[in-house]
């Protein structure tokens, strides 16, 4: 579904990605782990070109996203993204947050967009907060809304950039539950995370990145039970 070839990104002389290649298949739940500064967030942000790569290719459903002639905005509609800091729109109600993009970009009429939004809200248990503003919600609620906002565009892949890192510990579970359900429904997901439990339990593939490169890749079992590289072994001994 997404094939990444020799991806490179430089920030002011600092190489954040030094040539990353990976194939993401339909139905994959790929978890990306690694120490901070390893380039995993940059890698994720390059997938929908929020960060423009300095080299390599990102091919999404056969189209090279770096090609100037393709309509990037249309491709982005099919790639939902969830941010560490939620980034809900504070000047809109929850319902407006959810219906804004589908109405504007997919020309769905208000009633239909609201119906879809309410269905999703129901599923994450937040239907009663439809009229609230983001600042009235807890962190966990905000992040669940942010996930729903992306889902309302009916994307084919969901990108998660450390979705639980800004949350109070007691709220991490409710967000991970939503993500787990999503994975069970067969959504293709790429998840940058520090939640090793989630990566092990929900992911079907795990990437370990360090220093701008993929150091090791495999099933959760291979990565967590039989780490091959020394770097991964020392990383796991610190976080587990």
């Amino acid at each position: 579904m997404i094939s990444v070839k020799n991806l490179k990104k430089v920030f002011g002389g600092n190489e954040a990605l030094k040539g990353v290649s990976v194939e993401i298949n339909k139905g994959d739940v790929m978890c990306v782990i690694g120490p901070s500064g390893s380039g995993k967030s940059t890698f994720l942000r390059c997938l929908n070109l929020l960060e423009r790569p300095d080299g390599g290719q990102v091919i999404f459903e056969g189209d090279d996203l770096m090609d100037k002639h393709i309509n990037l905005n249309q491709h982005r509609q099919k790639m939902g993204m969830v941010f560490q800091q939620f980034n809900l729109f504070p000047h809109m109600t929850v319902l407006e947050n959810l219906t804004c993009a589908p109405m504007m970009l997919k020309k769905i009429d208000k009633a239909a967009a609201e119906k879809t939004a309410m269905d999703y809200l129901q599923r994450v248990g937040l239907a009663d907060r439809a009229a609230s503003y983001p600042n009235q919600l807890s962190g966990g609620q905000k992040q669940r809304i942010a996930i729903v906002r992306a889902l309302c565009m009916e994307p084919e892949v969901m990108l998660f950039d450390e979705p639980t890192s800004a949350l109070d510990p007691e709220m991490v579970g409710e967000v991970l539950d939503v993500m787990k359900k999503l994975a069970e429904q067969g959504m293709t997901m790429v998840v940058v995370t520090h939640e090793m439990g989630f990566a092990r339990e929900v992911g079907n593939r795990v990437l370990f990145m360090d220093n701008g490169l993929i150091v090791e890749e495999g099933t959760p079992e291979q990565i967590f039970e039989h780490p091959k590289s020394e770097r991964l072994q020392s990383f796991l001994s610190k976080v587990l």
Partner: protein, 228 residues
Amino acid sequence: MSAWFAKLHETFIETGYYRLLLQGLGNTLIMTLGALCIGVVIGTLIAVIKYFAEDVPALKPLDMLCDLYVTTIRGIPVVVLLMIFFYVIMTSAEGITVGIIAFGINSGAYMAELIRSGIGAVDKGQMEAGRSLGMSKVQAMRKIVFPQAVRYILPAIGNEMIALLKETSVAGYVAVVDLTRAGNLVRNNTYDAFNPLMAVALTYLLLVVLMSRALKKLERRLAKSDKR
């Protein structure tokens, strides 16, 4: 005391000069509001162009033009600008029209910076969230970023309006009878300097106090909507 009242009556009422002052007040307000509108439009335009020029190379020349405009206007005293417009550029136009345009163009340069910093104050993640949903930069600006920037910009525009009100007092240089000019004419014709000038000063003061109050109220209301 009664002598002073008699003097007031003589200076303003008997002569009918109060009408001149009212007319002057009207012109001052017209110029302030007109210039404010032009300033907001120019300022918004420049701020938006500069925002998009950051990653659209085609806008670079326009961006440089905006810089040139802001630098030039900020470096010229508004009276000089006003006279250039009246005596050189728009020689056949009426003073008040020239005033609105010159003060508007002047104010636009300051407004551009205010609006730009307002847009810059909105969290970068807001634009990213909009883009990640598939919005174009223009769509995300219009629907997501700008509405949030307004709450930072509005109070600053209020302050700019207060400054503008007082700036228009130089309109007399191009034969506009604004509040200041009207007061000066009354002084000249009645040989009473104290009362006309006091009347003018107090009117400005009153207007500024009223505008500041309205601004405070607005700020309080914006702060409240922040907390919701």
